[in-house]
């Protein structure tokens, strides 16, 4: 497993480079006629949103599993997927306004898609704050319950465009919008690249979290040993 990581990291780096080239070069994705080159933000904005949604669903599955089985591994998967999902969601919330400014003439509008995405981000940021700063023994269970409610917002964010009048364009897939096949190809390529990257980041973060818990356990064991053998401690 340790040897697989650098190989997969190298392959992902190559894939990201190729996907980035295809997104930025007119030889890859064609230039959109109305918006021009600024539309190429789409190839980072949309895959980041899809990755965030996917990670929030993984967080949901892992949280349900934790609530049923109280599995330590599921708890770590839930934490890691939420953290990396927040990173992707932050990118969505920053690249969106950067794209909106030249196209709509405004950085932000309080329409349903944008507001619900911001709310989703706030839910998962509060989830991470809960995990970071709560010292209760029930933190993992409380966070898992919050994650279940957070995940319920994901379909609402995606389909909010259907239910409400909004300035945001229709979803690319399953939303009735149309897209040039070459653009779709580059979009899916970037999604694949960012998904592989997200998976690797989750993998690295999982290992760090596992190590952190092992170290915390070792510290706790050492404190117990010191309490049980105060004479040895004094003589040492």
């Amino acid at each position: 497993m340790k040897k697989a990581f650098p190989i997969l990291a190298l392959l992902t780096l190559i894939l990201l480079g190729y996907a980035g080239y295809m997104a930025l070069s007119p030889n890859g994705a064609p230039t959109e006629q109305t918006m021009g080159n600024v539309q190429r933000i789409f190839y980072y904005h949309v895959p980041s949103a899809w990755c965030a949604f996917l990670l929030f669903f993984i967080n949901f599955g892992a949280s349900i599993y934790y609530l049923i089985k109280r599995s330590q591994a599921a708890d770590i998967v839930a934490l890691v997927s939420a953290e990396v999902g927040v990173v992707f969601c932050t990118i969505v919330l920053i690249t969106g306004p950067i794209w909106a400014r030249p196209v709509w003439g405004i950085w932000w509008t309080w329409d349903m898609r944008l507001t619900s995405t911001l709310l989703l981000w706030l839910i998962y940021v509060s989830y991470l704050f809960l995990r970071r700063f709560s010292s209760s023994g029930q933190t993992a269970a409380l966070a898992a319950a919050l994650a279940v409610f957070g995940a319920l917002c994901v379909p609402f964010v995606y389909f909010s465009i259907w239910f409400f009048r909004t300035q945001h364009p229709q979803p690319v897939l399953g939303g009735g919008g149309s897209i040039d096949p070459r653009m779709l190809h580059v979009l899916l390529l970037n999604w694949l690249a960012f998904s592989c990257f997200g998976f690797l980041v989750c993998w690295a973060r999982y290992r760090v979290e596992k190590l952190q818990r092992d170290v915390d356990e070792a510290h706790a064991m050492r404190s117990l040993m010191d309490l049980r053998n105060p004479r040895q401690q004094r003589s040492a």
């Binding site: 980035g20 930025l24 070069s25 007119p26 230039t31 021009g36 080159n37 600024v38 190429r40 933000i41 980072y44 904005h45 980041s48 990396v84 990173v87 932050t90 990118i91 920053i94 690249t95 950067i98 794209w99 400014r101 030249p102 990257f197 980041v201 690295a204 973060r205 290992r207 760090v208 190590l211 952190q212 170290v215 070792a218 510290h219 050492r222």
Partner: protein, 41 residues
């Protein structure tokens, strides 16, 4: 390759966030390695 200040800003911000997060993970890993070494000593 295409050039547009908004496009550049969006791509730059994306990679700054990803690299920043990765550097946090790497620094935590290095700190944990140091702690493990101290525990073993």
């Amino acid at each position: 390759m295409t050039s547009n200040p908004y496009l550049f800003a969006a791509y730059a911000v994306t990679w700054i966030i990803h690299v920043g997060y990765l550097s946090i993970i790497v620094s935590r890993y290095a700190r944990l390695k140091r702690e493990i070494k101290e525990l073993k000593d």
